[in-house]
Symmetry: C2
Subunit: 462 residues, 2 copies
């Protein structure tokens, strides 16, 4: 198989570059046609690798692309989930090369080169590995299990219409395991399989004071200034130990045993290189926990955006009528994201002083997820990683959220295995996102090994 | 004189509307040519009313337009200052009619109609009254004093280059009194002459954390989030009594006697109509002071703008690298604006936690000013207001700042008289700025009476 990949890799990279050129920004209505075009591109790619059924399913939002290869009724079925939509590329001025003109450059962490483009890693690059791995297996007549691809276009905006699609096609989507590559590894030398994801609750708040913008000389110091009020409330969201101050926030939090925490931190991150990689001189977070704890087993709250008043060049002496913020919370087992969103809303409204009105809306959310490490799929993955990376991967919990994972379990009753190959430093959601060529090719190999290992273990197990 | 104005008023209003159509936004480099065009327009208008000398003086920023009428060496000289530049019109979507397409509409407070346009009141409308008052006096051979017009184009961005112009032309600009209409009256029934202005210190802060935008799942809760830090520091700028928390901020503040405060508040504002006019259910400000105190004799601090992170539609799970705010302080006698700016900078930097860098810059500023009420000019103005409004105007202190007023006194040694005619509700610096037709015409009449009264008092006094 190694040789085959050798012959095809240029071709695979060229295909990915082609896919990365389409700005499928799901959050931006002006890119609706690009999102559609990308769905068509995926449809075509699924046909080309040999899917017997391929179909674009329209939703109330962006379409879902479905493809399947049925090998045998008795064989196990792997449902591959990925997304073809991407985050907005702004701030554009911080990109060293245009986000939709992919270029390959070498970096310290990617000595064999990395593709720089929005979506290179999240998730076009990682999703595309699955298509190519299956293509190799098909060409070699080595695919022994059934495959179902569900590639959606709304992951970056909360997968609002995916649940309905899943519910509407429950029998079509039956499988033995769901496979997703949308997470990462620490390094090529120290690969990991993600076994935990945090939940998410993403909120937006608007503070409204006076019914129009006011002159700050005539009104300054006499009215509740919506920006000052917003800052006051945001500041009050954490206490002096950087714990989240919302009453009830920690009530359902799963407490991890000291021994488990210790084990987890042994595989954990090097704080110096963590700080160096993002150019900070100190970390900050909840007292009593390590950086690794804070981003995996502890819930957190961060402001993702804030705006209000005059933000142009120069000075304008104005008191704005409205100020806004986007605030998200990362959740852990067993926090319920809808409950947390409610607690947030109650708190924010209770903190609003007289003279302003506060509006709180929920963008989207999802619960945390922990995947078992004693499953056949996990064992198959462990074996595949070991073959390709030469070391047994460790199990790690991630700070990010893939809200559809708990949803899949709820609706389909199926567990998910997270086989990611990106690096934290790949700048997903940031300017200069990239994905290592080596990660991409090793990912394809690992996945191409996973399927036969899984079929084999499954057969022995039956 | 009443009849003459009657014949000319349509004409005067048409001329003002023409002036208001030019978007002379000094803060916006893309409007540089419009600012230039407006200077030419003023030059032409000064020629038309009969100035003997008119000249546009270039500066390192926008030009100053100068005009003079010399009646006699023995006559007193009035220097009229005004500005032809305007605030940016944003947020545009809140304007009921386009900001540069003036329309006349009646309102509750302006039953005779008001002109709606950016700059209608601040300061094109108020500045233009002076040209028209002098025109009437010239036509009637009634101008007994010398007039010097200094109409600048950078007031809304801090009059950065005016001081140099004044210093460079000190002898040309000698006068007995400086006259400015850039303030307001409470109502037609209760006119006032502004005798106090607050100072200003306008700052901008940038909080920089990680060297790039980060994914909030992977990094949330582990690093100092620049937006959260900015909100924390802003929240800490006021204490629980809404006093400004910056050490030394109140050290030089002039304390007003209880009796003076009492007298001031007798002419003071009706809190219910104050709240109703801006649609709020409660005021907020420094404990122990009335709303009128808070906006006239007490220093204050307000955020004028804030921005950072993702502010587009939908949700982006990002931790921004930088967050920004524009923050201004209104100052009272005898606070030194440069000292206050320094104290602000020291405080902001001292409050920054590890893991972020804070940059603080000063946009511009000026000291507070109190004008005497026992001067010949004040007495002439009092008489003129009484003639036109039928009531003796009271003296009031304003919350706004005109930093050039103390600068004039420092450089030229000349006092300023503030004869304003706008209403607080005229929405200067806001969407739907307007200026009452009645205010405009009464202003012209009052100014046209002021000049002969001032000459007369001055002659008697010599």
């Amino acid at each position: 198989m190694k040789k085959i990949l050798q012959n095809q890799k240029e071709n695979f990279i060229d295909q990915l570059i082609e896919l990365l050129k389409i700005p499928s920004i799901s959050a931006d209505p002006s890119h609706k046609e690009d999102v559609k075009k990308t769905a068509k591109w995926i449809e075509n790619a699924l046909n080309e690798i040999g899917c017997s059924t391929v179909q674009i399913y329209e939703t109330a939002g962006h379409p879902v692309v479905y493809g399947e290869i049925l090998v045998s009724e008795n064989a196990p079925t792997v449902l591959v989930y990925g997304h073809y939509d991407i985050q907005p590329p702004d701030p554009l001025e911080l990109w060293e090369s245009p986000p939709f003109e992919p270029v390959i450059k070498k970096t310290d962490l990617h000595p064999k080169g990395a593709i720089f483009a929005r979506g290179a890693c999240d998730d076009k690059g990682q999703m595309f590995m699955h298509l190519k791995a299956v293509e190799i297996l098909m060409q070699n007549n080595a695919l022994k299990n059934n495959i179902k691809f569900v590639i959606e276009g709304e992951e970056e905006v909360g997968s609002d219409h995916l649940e309905k699609f899943i519910r509407d096609h429950k029998s079509m989507l039956q499988s033995d395991i769901i496979l997703i590559s949308d997470t990462g590894i620490n390094s090529i030398e120290n690969p990991a399989i993600t076994v935990g994801l945090r939940g998410l609750s993403y909120m937006e708040v608007t503070v409204t004071g006076p019914n129009r913008d006011l002159h700050s000389g005539l009104y300054g110091g006499t009215v509740a200034n919506p920006i000052n009020v917003l800052c006051d409330i945001i500041a009050s969201l954490h206490d002096e130990n950087k714990k989240v101050n919302i009453p009830g926030f920690y009530d359902q939090v799963e407490e991890i045993s000291e021994s488990e925490r210790k084990k987890m931190n042994e595989n954990g991150l090097n704080e110096k290189s963590f700080k160096d990689s993002i150019g900070i001189d100190a970390v900050m977070g909840e007292k009593g926990y390590t950086t690794l704890d804070r981003r995996s087993i502890r819930p957190t709250l961060d402001v993702n955006g804030i705006w209000g008043g005059y933000t142009g060049e120069g000075a304008k002496t104005v008191i704005t009528s409205q100020a806004h913020a986007k605030i998200s919370m990362r959740l852990v087992p067993h926090q319920e994201w809808k409950k947390i969103s409610e607690l947030f809303e109650q708190y924010f409204k209770a903190m609003a002083p007289k003279g302003v009105k506060v509006e709180v809306t929920t963008h989207h959310g999802g619960n945390a997820y922990v995947t078992p490490t004693d499953s056949l799929a996990y064992k198959a993955a462990e074996k595949a990683y070991n073959d390709v990376f030469g070391v047994v991967p460790h199990a790690k919990r991630d700070g990010g959220s893939i809200p559809i994972v708990p949803m899949f379990e709820k609706v389909l009753g199926t567990k998910t295995l997270l086989m990611g190959f990106g690096f934290d430093s790949d700048a997903i959601h940031s300017p200069n996102e990239h994905y290592g060529i080596d990660n991409f090719l090793k990912g394809i190999k690992t996945i191409a090994l996973f399927h036969p290992y899984f079929s084999e273990l499954y057969g022995n197990h039956q």
